[in-house]
């Protein structure tokens, strides 16, 4: 069988040191009681927290020093993000910029864009959104129609993006646009640009999610003008870049720790009088989590070696999000409680939070079905 590369990884000393630093930071944060862990997920948006995390050196750690980073291994970032999520820290403001937009600009952006933007991300003062999906281009990303037309030193963008998380409070998004013919493989003619959401020609409209929250948006481009040095990568290279970005997006601890705090609250609720059924369910979930942590660490190791583990990342996300979706379904049967944001106990609140967000776990960042198609291709079935 086509071997997947989930080789066991020993964390380097700097990653172990980073774990101690981030735990000390989070202990201070918890003392401030600024965030309620059991009501949070990694997309909880808190600019103040992000600024403090930036000041403490936890954002953009893999980037070179000249752009404000610490030139650390992806394994250091892996440890930092895993610790943050396990603590229920509200990382939503910097998450996208730190995880994928910043690395994309670092690798493929202009020198000017790097100098202007990356240090602000590192400081926790600049947030990004992802401009990939469109009304008729969801899972079928190659169907993107938003156009960018060259006009001297500028490009003029027209079209619409959708499901754009945080577009209403981010500073930038990276838009995937059509600049040419798709070609026979349908992957040609796509180009990425950094869009400044404060400039004229771009309109953001809210879409409320089923929980009543406002995270995602529609974004409209109406003759939006962007200088050529805000292009990310070559003209027509957009497809290759977004697919390599997805390995970062899909393999991290955010793909199996979205509802970790519900698991913690479940343990707290059961621990005083556990029966065998409780022990079995908790043991099963913990065994799943331990395997996922090893898989995800292994992918961080591959990224560390400069590889593009797209299929392994898809496996982490498919297995990880299936695990995330099981937690609320098991928890609700072990603890008779009616999930409610108005309940006084943390468990019922955490369950309410997760129950209403769980459908997104297996959609965002590539649906389960798209991932399984990628895995099947990796298995030689396509």
């Amino acid at each position: 069988m086509q071997a997947f590369r989930f080789d066991a990884i020993d964390l380097p000393p700097e990653a172990i040191a980073a774990r101690a630093r981030v735990r000390a930071f989070l202990a201070e944060e918890q003392k401030r009681r600024d965030f309620v862990a059991y009501r949070n997920s990694w997309n909880s948006f808190d600019p103040d927290f992000t600024r403090r995390a930036g000041a403490a050196g936890f954002i953009g750690v893999t980037w070179p020093g000249e752009y404000g980073g610490a030139a650390q291994s992806p394994l250091v970032r892996f440890v930092i993000t895993a610790e943050m999520l396990a603590a229920g820290a509200p990382c939503g403001a910097h998450w996208i910029a730190d995880r994928q937009s910043g690395p994309q600009i670092l690798r493929n952006g202009s020198e000017r864009a790097r100098r202007e933007i990356l240090p602000r991300i590192v400081a926790g003062e600049c947030y990004f959104a992802i401009g990939m999906s469109e009304p008729n281009s969801g899972s079928d990303l190659a169907a993107v129609r938003t156009s960018a037309v060259r006009n001297g030193d500028e490009w003029v963008i027209n079209g619409q993006k959708i499901w754009t998380s945080n577009a209403h409070r981010a500073h930038y998004l990276i838009a995937l646009t059509r600049t040419g013919e798709a070609g026979p493989d349908r992957h040609g003619g796509l180009t990425q640009f950094i869009v400044d959401l404060a400039r004229p020609g771009v309109t953001v409209r809210p879409i409320r999610n089923l929980a009543g929250g406002h995270e995602f948006n529609e974004v409209f481009f109406d003759d939006y003008r962007v200088p050529d040095d805000r292009r990310v990568g070559g003209v027509g290279e957009g497809w290759r870049m977004v697919t390599s970005e997805l390995a970062f997006e899909r393999s991290g601890p955010d793909r199996f720790l979205s509802d970790y705090r519900l698991l913690v609250e479940l343990i707290e609720r059961l621990r005083d009088a556990p029966d065998p059924r409780h022990e079995i369910v908790i043991g099963r979930l913990v065994a799943h989590l331990a395997a996922l942590l090893r898989m995800s660490t292994a992918v961080a190791g591959l990224l560390d070696r400069g590889e593009n583990p797209a299929v392994e990342a898809a496996l982490v996300k498919d297995v990880g999000t299936a695990f995330e979706r099981e937690i609320p379904e098991l928890a609700r049967l072990l603890v008779p409680s009616q999930p409610s944001f108005d309940a006084e106990d943390p468990f019922s609140q955490a369950l309410a939070q997760v129950m209403l967000h769980a459908p997104s776990f297996t959609l965002r960042g590539g649906t389960r079905e798209i991932l399984r198609g990628m895995i099947a291709r990796g298995l030689g079935l396509r």
Binding site: M1, F4, F6, A8, I16, R19, A82, E83, A86, A87, Y260, L263, V264, E265, L266, I267, E268, L270, R271, P274, P276, H278, E279, I280, V281, I282, G283, R284, V286, A287, H288, L289, A290, A291, L292, L293, R294, M295, A298, E312, L315, D318, V319, A322, E369, L371, R372, G373, I375, A376, G378, L379, G380, L381, R382
Partner: protein, 353 residues
């Protein structure tokens, strides 16, 4: 040569040897209850039962984790022999100061709660306990982890039973007789070495974990080949999204199982393998059930025949997931610890610090 190089060479040699000699005919004969003597001789000739014994004592000098990793290849080929049991028995016995054991050996206890007690009987050591499903217990030298009246653990060596026990085999036809130790006199006894400190059940679970990962890989290989060859509706069934998604799901289970199997190997370096073995047996047992289900579904009726070789793997998966503790037993052990320690202690436990 570094021991990881030795183990890589041994792994390739083992793979080639087993690929050549564990044929369909050998597997079918073993299924019928025949002891594959020629195959055992070959495996012994290759030095595999002594992999864990130090070189100066005639072994390959592999660390337990390296030796156990070879069992993935044995699992891949559905090797119908107590190779892992013999490796571990030799590793344990020599670590406690004993000499290498001749011929096949096996391990007990094999089930939770099946404690074996030691009593002194006229200057000799007698053993008491009821052992269920002892791998190849009718012909293998038995290494038992037993406790004396003072609560100290010992390893006791027992020759194969003089009177054959009632035949009992697992779903794959592998011998798993029950043995009653009713004052049986040990051939030798030694204090349990550190390697035994997590218990025989944990060592057996670590062993079956490696074998199951190997068997799952081979079952998936079969299913992928079949999906690309078998044509229906004018195209290979592997072109159908429903089939692709089943196999992708199986690949995810296999990947998680491999990670869990790596986890228990890594734990050998730290000494106590109990929790890692529990995690591995629990996670891999679950994956084994799913992978067996999916690979059969992909093979259709053909995979349900005796003629096809898939069942040599899947019947082992169904057997092995219940040996040395099933998923629920190990999950419960993990759950009990996690619940006792509380929610805040879980993350440090998972992160290892």
């Amino acid at each position: 040569m570094a021991s990881n190089e030795i183990s890589a060479i041994l792994r390739d040699q083992t793979d080639r040897l087993l690929a050549e000699h564990v044929t369909r005919a050998v597997l079918a004969a073993a299924d019928g209850g025949a002891w594959p003597e020629a195959l055992w001789a070959m495996v012994e000739e290759a030095g595999l039962p002594r992999a864990m014994i130090a070189e100066e004592k005639g072994g390959a000098g592999l660390a337990p984790a390296e030796a156990l990793s070879l069992l993935r290849r044995a699992g891949y080929h559905a090797l119908p022999l107590p190779l892992g049991e013999t490796m571990l028995a030799n590793g344990l016995w020599v670590a406690s100061g004993g000499e290498p054991i001749a011929g096949p050996a096996t391990l007990a206890p094999t089930m939770a709660g099946a404690a074996v007690e030691i009593t002194a009987a006229g200057g000799k050591t007698a053993l008491h306990g009821r052992l269920t499903g002892v791998p190849w217990g009718e012909r293998a030298t038995l290494l038992v982890l037993a406790r004396d009246a003072n609560g100290n653990d010992h390893l006791a060596l027992l020759p194969p039973p003089a009177i054959p026990p009632a035949q009992k085999r697992n779903l794959a036809g592998e011998p798993r007789p029950d043995l009653l130790l009713d004052g049986a006199i040990a051939a030798a006894i030694r204090p349990a070495p550190p390697l035994a400190k997590s218990g025989m059940l944990a060592l057996g679970a670590a062993l079956r974990a490696q074998q199951m990962v190997g068997a799952m890989e081979h079952a998936l290989d079969h299913a992928l080949t079949y999906a690309n060859e078998r044509q229906q509706f004018g195209r290979p069934i592997g072109r159908f999204q429903a089939v692709q998604h089943m196999l992708a799901e199986a690949a995810g289970q296999f990947a998680a199982a491999t990670a869990a199997a790596d986890g228990v190997l890594a734990a050998f370096a730290e000494g106590d393998i109990l929790i890692a073995a529990a995690m591995a047996k629990a996670r891999i047992g679950e994956a084994a059930g799913k992978v067996a289900e999916i690979t059969h579904q992909v093979h259709g009726a053909m995979g349900f025949t005796q003629e096809h070789t898939l069942h040599f793997l899947t019947r082992r998966l169904w057997s092995w997931r219940d040996e040395f503790g099933n998923e629920a037993e190990w999950q419960r052990l993990i759950g009990r610890r996690v619940l006792a320690a509380g929610g805040a202690a879980l993350w440090p436990m998972l992160a290892g610090v």
